[in-house]
C-alpha cells in the first residue's frame, strides 16, 4: 500500500488530498517560494498526527507542518515534496482564568484566542500583523512577534508548555503551569524551530491581564533621525511603551491614500506609540513621550481620544501591507533586525540599495526593537524584476548583518534565508545547531533542508584542535 492510501486509512478519505489543483494550493506559504507536495493531510487530533508521522517515517517521506500558511520565509513550502500536514482542525481551547493560562490547539487563530481571552479580562501578548489569519501553531513554529513584543517579548516568552509529536510518533507534553520545570528546556528549543523538530499539536500559553487603560499616540517628524532619537530618549527615560512603530513617508502616503485616516503625509516619518497601565501611569508616560517628541522637532502629536480613534491609528499600521496593492500587484516583505542605535544609518543604506536597483521601497517597522520591514513593491510580470528584487533583498540583509544585526527578527529563516545562515554563524555554530536538530529528529523527517544550509553537520574538525590551543602552549 502506498503512503497516501495509508494516510486515508488513518485519517479518513475526506482528510487527505492529492488532486493536482489541491496540491497546488498547498505548494507554498505566503513567501514567493513554491514547492510541490505529494499529499495534504488534515489531522483531526493528536493521534492522527502521530499516525502521519509513523507513516512518513516508514516510507521515508518528509513532513511539512502548516497552519494558515501566512509564513513569509517558505518554512511551510514543501520544497522537498512529501506530506503537508495542515493543523487547522486542531481547534481546542481551554482557558484557565485562575492561572491565567490556556491550552490552545495548534489550529486556533491568534485573534480568536485573543477574543476568547478578552471575555475573562485576559490577552495573549504576541500580535503579529497577520493575527486575524495566522495560527498558534504557526506562532509557536516561528516564535512570532508583533508590535507588542517590545515590552512583552516574542511567542517563546509566552509558551509555558507544548504537546508535541516527535519522531517515532511519540507524543510528549513538555512544560506546564508550574514554573521552571526540571530538565533541559526542550519546549524552548522547539519554539521557533520552524517545524523541523516535531509537530506541535497544542500549546499551553501564558495570558496576561487586559490593560486597565491605554494611550495611543501618533507623532509626525521632519526626519527619520528625529523620530529615531525620540525612540531612544523615551526608553532612556525609563519608559518601555507597549509598542513603538515607525512608518516612513512613502508608506504613510500609500496608507493615507487608501485609508483616509488623516495621517500626516507631509512628515518624513510617523511614529505610533502606545503605553498601557493604570490611568495615572499612562497619562504621565504619554505626556513624557509627547514632550520628548516635541523637543525633537515633532510637527504634530495626536493622542487617540476614543477607542474608534485608536483603532483607526492602528489600522493604518496593521493594514499597511494591504495598501500596497495600489502601487504594484506584488510585494516582497523583508524582515531583519539591527541594534536600535544603528537604525538611522541602516535605513539610509536600505534606501540607497532600493534606488540603485530602481525599486519602489516603503518602510514600516518595529522601531523600539530595531526590527526593520523594508517592503519592495513590484510587478512580477516585468522582465528581470525578480532577480533585482532578490539581489536587493540580499544586500539589505547584508547591511543589517554588517551593522551588528541578525537575519530575522520575527519571520524566521525557512528556506528564504537558509543559505545566509553562513553569514551569521561560523561552521562550528551551524554544526551545533545541526546537532540539536539531529538529536530530536534523527531520521530527518520533519521539514528537511529548512533553517540550516546543506552540509551544516559535516563540519571537519581536523583543523580545530590546533587553532584553539591557547596562546603560548608548547606543542
Amino acid at each position: 500500500m502506498g503512503y497516501v492510501d495509508e494516510l486515508r486509512q488513518v485519517l479518513g478519505e475526506e482528510n487527505v488530498l492529492e488532486e493536482p489543483l489541491e496540491l497546488h494550493i498547498y505548494a507554498k506559504d505566503a513567501s514567493l517560494i513554491r514547492g510541490q507536495a505529494n499529499a495534504v493531510a488534515f489531522p483531526q487530533n493528536v493521534e492522527d498526527v502521530a499516525g502521519i508521522v509513523k507513516i512518513a517515517e516508514a516510507h521515508k517521506v518528509p513532513i511539512v507542518a502548516r497552519g494558515a500558511g501566512t509564513g513569509l520565509a517558505a518554512g511551510a513550502s514543501p520544497t522537498e515534496g512529501g506530506i503537508v500536514v495542515v493543523t487547522t482542525a486542531l481547534k481546542s481551547m481551554e482557558i484557565d482564568v485562575e492561572n491565567r493560562t490556556a491550552w490552545v490547539g495548534a489550529g486556533v487563530i491568534n485573534l480568536d484566542l485573543t477574543k476568547a481571552a478578552a471575555q475573562y479580562g485576559l490577552q495573549f501578548a504576541p500580535d503579529p500583523s497577520s493575527q486575524s489569519a495566522c495560527t498558534i501553531g504557526g506562532n509557536v513554529a516561528n516564535n512570532s512577534g508583533g508590535p507588542h513584543c517590545l515590552a512583552e517579548g516574542s511567542t517563546t516568552s509566552h509558551v509555558l508548555g507544548l504537546e508535541v509529536v516527535l519522531a517515532g510518533g511519540e507524543v510528549v507534553v513538555l512544560g506546564g503551569q508550574a514554573p521552571d520545570p526540571p530538565g533541559l528546556d526542550l519546549k524552548g528549543l522547539i519554539v521557533g524551530s520552524e517545524g523541523t523538530m516535531g509537530i506541535v499539536t497544542r500549546a499551553l500559553v501564558r495570558l496576561i491581564p487586559l490593560d486597565p487603560d491605554v494611550r495611543t499616540m501618533l507623532m509626525a517628524f521632519p526626519s527619520v533621525e528625529s523620530s529615531a532619537t525620540t525612540v531612544s530618549q523615551v526608553i532612556a527615560a525609563g519608559v518601555v511603551p507597549a509598542a513603538l512603530e515607525l512608518m516612513d513617508k512613502r508608506m504613510v502616503e500609500v496608507v493615507e491614500n487608501w485609508l483616509h485616516a488623516g495621517l500626516p503625509t507631509e512628515a518624513a516619518a510617523v511614529l505610533l506609540a502606545e503605553v498601557v497601565g493604570e490611568t495615572e501611569g499612562v497619562e504621565a508616560e504619554a505626556g513624557l513621550i509627547a514632550d520628548i517628541a516635541t523637543s525633537n522637532g515633532a510637527t504634530s502629536v495626536e493622542v487617540a481620544e476614543t477607542e474608534e480613534h485608536r483603532a483607526l491609528l492602528w489600522k493604518g499600521r496593521k493594514s499597511a501591507f494591504g495598501a500596497i496593492a495600489q502601487l504594484a500587484p506584488d510585494y516582497y516583505l523583508h524582515d531583519a533586525v539591527v541594534p536600535r542605535t544603528r537604525l538611522v544609518e541602516t535605513m539610509k543604506a536600505v534606501y540607497e540599495i532600493a534606488d540603485r536597483y530602481d525599486l519602489t521601497m516603503l518602510n514600516v517597522f518595529h522601531a523600539g526593537d530595531g526590527n526593520l520591514h523594508p517592503l519592495i513593491a513590484f510587478d512580477a510580470s516585468e522582465p528581470d524584476i525578480n532577480q533585482r528584487v532578490h539581489d536587493a533583498g540580499d544586500e539589505i540583509v547584508a547591511v543589517c548583518l554588517k551593522n551588528g544585526g541578525a537575519l530575522s527578527g520575527e519571520h524566521g529563516i525557512g528556506l528564504e534565508k537558509r543559505d545566509m545562515m553562513r553569514d551569521n554563524f561560523t561552521d562550528l555554530d551551524l554544526d551545533a545547531q545541526a546537532r540539536l536538530k539531529e538529536a530530536i529528529d534523527p531520521g530527518g523527517v520533519f521539514n528537511p533542508n529548512k533553517v540550516l544550509p546543506a552540509g551544516s553537520r559535516c563540519f571537519d574538525f581536523g583543523g580545530l584542535r590546533r587553532q584553539e590551543l591557547p596562546e603560548g602552549v608548547w606543542v
Binding site: D96, N99, R100, S154, T156, S157, L166, V172, L174, A178, P179, D180, P181, P182, G183, L184, D185, L186, L189, S193, I208, P209, D211, S232, A237, G238, V239, V240, G277, E278, T279, E280, G281, A284, E285, V337, V338, T341, G370, G404, S408, E410, H411, G412, K417, T426, L428, D431, A432, Q433, R435, L436, E438, A439, P442, V451, E468, P470, V473, W474
Partner: protein
C-alpha cells in the same frame, strides 16, 4: 590522578570557597576553557564549574576531579545602554554588574539578592529574580550565548539584538541546563530601563495586590506580604494609594530563606497561597504570588516528601536547591520524571559526549 599537562598546570590556582578537588583551574579565556574540557573528556575526568556557588548544593554532584572557576572570565565586553544590551563574561558577579547598570538606570533583571552569584551560575541553574512576576524569568534575558561544549568546541547562538529568530534557540536552552551541554563563557543580556520611581507597599494579603495592574512582584514571607511597584512618580503614587498599605520608598527585597536545606516549590500560580498553607511553621520561606514559586528553607527534610507528593499531584515540583554534604540521605533532589528523556540524553551526548561537566546535577541521571 596523573599530573595535568603543562598548559593546564599554568592555570592552577586556589579557589576560595570551592569544593576540594585534585585540580583547581582558573581559565583566562574561552580557549582555556576549551583546553580544560578537552583534557577532561580525553581522560574521563569530572569537571565542576564554579561560579559564585549559586545553588552549589543543587542536585547530587560527585567528587569532582577538576574544579574550574570562572573568576577569570568577568570582562564587560560591550554595554550599549541605548540598545539595552550588555555583553559580559559568565564569571562576572551579578551584584557588580547590576550596580554598574544602575548608574545608567538600567537593570538586567537578574536575582535581586544575588549573594556571590555569577551571571553564568544564574543562567546554568535557571535562577530568576523576584521581578519575574512582571518582567519574566532569566531565560528571557539571554539574547546570545557563547558556550564551550563538553568536548571543547566554542559555539555561539542567538545574537546581540533584542529580537531575533535566527536559527535554533541555543541561548535559552542553556538556562537551567546545569552545564550539561556546555559551559557558558559569555552572554549578551537584554537590559531593562528602570523608571524613575519605585516603592514597596505592605498589604494584608496577596489578593490585595489585585487592586493594581501587573505589579513587579508580590512577595509573602513570615513577616508580611509586600507589593513591589515602579514607574513614573504619578504612577507609583496612584498605585500606592490604591493598594492602601504602608508605603516604603525603594524596593525592600526579602533575604534568602534561612536554614540548612534550601528548596523550591513550584506549582500552578493560582495555588501559591495554598502552597504557603502547606508549609510547616518552622520553615522560612518567600512566596512569589502570581508565579507559583516558593523558595523555602528548613533544618531537615522531614515533611518534604509529603509536600512533594502534593506538588506533583497538582502538576508541580519540589526541588532541593541547597543541602549540606551527605544531608540528602537518599532524598532525590529533583523528584518526578522527565518527559522525552531519550531526547534529552541524545542532546547531551551531542555536546558533552564524555559527560564531564557537572555530571549528576540534572534529574533522571542525566
Amino acid at each position: 590522578m596523573t599530573a595535568p599537562p603543562v598548559h593546564l598546570a599554568r592555570l592552577e590556582t586556589d579557589v576560595p570557597g570551592a569544593p576540594d578537588a585534585p585540580l583547581k583551574l582558573v581559565p583566562r579565556n574561552p580557549q582555556d576553557v576549551a583546553s580544560i574540557l578537552r583534557h577532561a573528556s580525553d581522560k574521563g575526568l569530572n569537571v565542576q564549574v564554579w561560579g559564585g556557588g549559586t545553588r552549589s548544593g543543587f542536585g547530587a554532584p560527585p567528587e569532582p576531579d577538576i574544579v574550574m572557576s570562572m573568576q577569570g572570565l568577568v570582562e564587560v565586553e560591550k554595554w550599549e545602554p541605548d540598545d539595552l544590551t550588555l555583553v559580559v563574561g559568565a564569571g562576572a558577579s551579578v551584584e557588580v554588574i547590576e550596580l554598574m547598570l544602575s548608574e545608567r538606570n538600567q537593570t538586567a533583571v537578574l536575582p535581586e539578592v544575588p549573594g556571590a552569584s555569577t551571571i553564568g551560575g544564574v543562567i546554568a541553574t535557571g535562577a530568576s529574580g523576584f521581578r519575574r512576576t512582571r518582567l519574566y524569568g532569566t531565560r528571557e534575558r539571554v539574547l546570545e550565548a557563547t558556550v564551550v561544549t563538553g568536548d571543547g568546541r566554542i559555539i555561539r547562538g542567538g545574537g546581540r539584538v533584542v529580537k531575533n529568530v535566527t536559527g535554533y534557540d541555543l541561548p535559552r536552552l542553556m538556562v537551567g541546563a546545569f552545564g550539561s551541554l556546555g559551559v557558558v563563557v559569555s552572554v549578551c543580556l537584554r537590559l531593562w530601563p528602570a523608571p524613575p520611581d519605585r516603592a514597596t507597599v505592605t498589604v494584608g494579603t496577596a489578593d490585595d495586590a489585585q487592586r493594581v495592574a501587573r505589579p513587579l512582584a508580590v512577595l509573602e514571607d513570615r513577616e508580611s506580604t509586600r507589593v513591589f511597584i515602579w514607574g513614573t512618580t504619578a504612577d507609583v503614587a496612584a498605585k500606592a494609594a490604591k493598594l492602601d498599605g504602608d508605603v516604603d520608598e525603594g524596593h525592600l527585597w526579602p533575604s534568602d530563606p534561612d536554614g540548612e536545606f534550601g528548596w523550591s516549590l513550584r506549582v500552578p500560580p493560582a495555588l501559591t497561597a495554598e502552597a504557603v498553607g502547606h508549609l510547616r511553621d518552622s520553615w522560612d520561606f518567600v512566596a512569589l504570588h502570581g508565579v507559583g514559586e516558593l523558595r523555602a528553607a528548613s533544618e531537615g527534610l522531614d515533611g518534604a516528601s509529603e509536600l512533594r507528593g502534593w506538588a506533583e499531584a497538582v502538576g508541580g515540583h519540589l526541588v532541593v536547591t541547597r543541602a549540606p554534604v551527605g544531608g540528602l540521605d537518599g532524598f532525590d533532589p529533583w523528584g518526578g520524571s522527565l518527559p522525552a528523556i531519550d531526547v534529552q540524553r541524545r542532546l547531551i551526548a551531542e555536546f558533552d559526549p564524555a559527560r564531564v561537566i557537572n555530571p549528576g546535577r540534572l534529574p533522571g541521571g542525566l
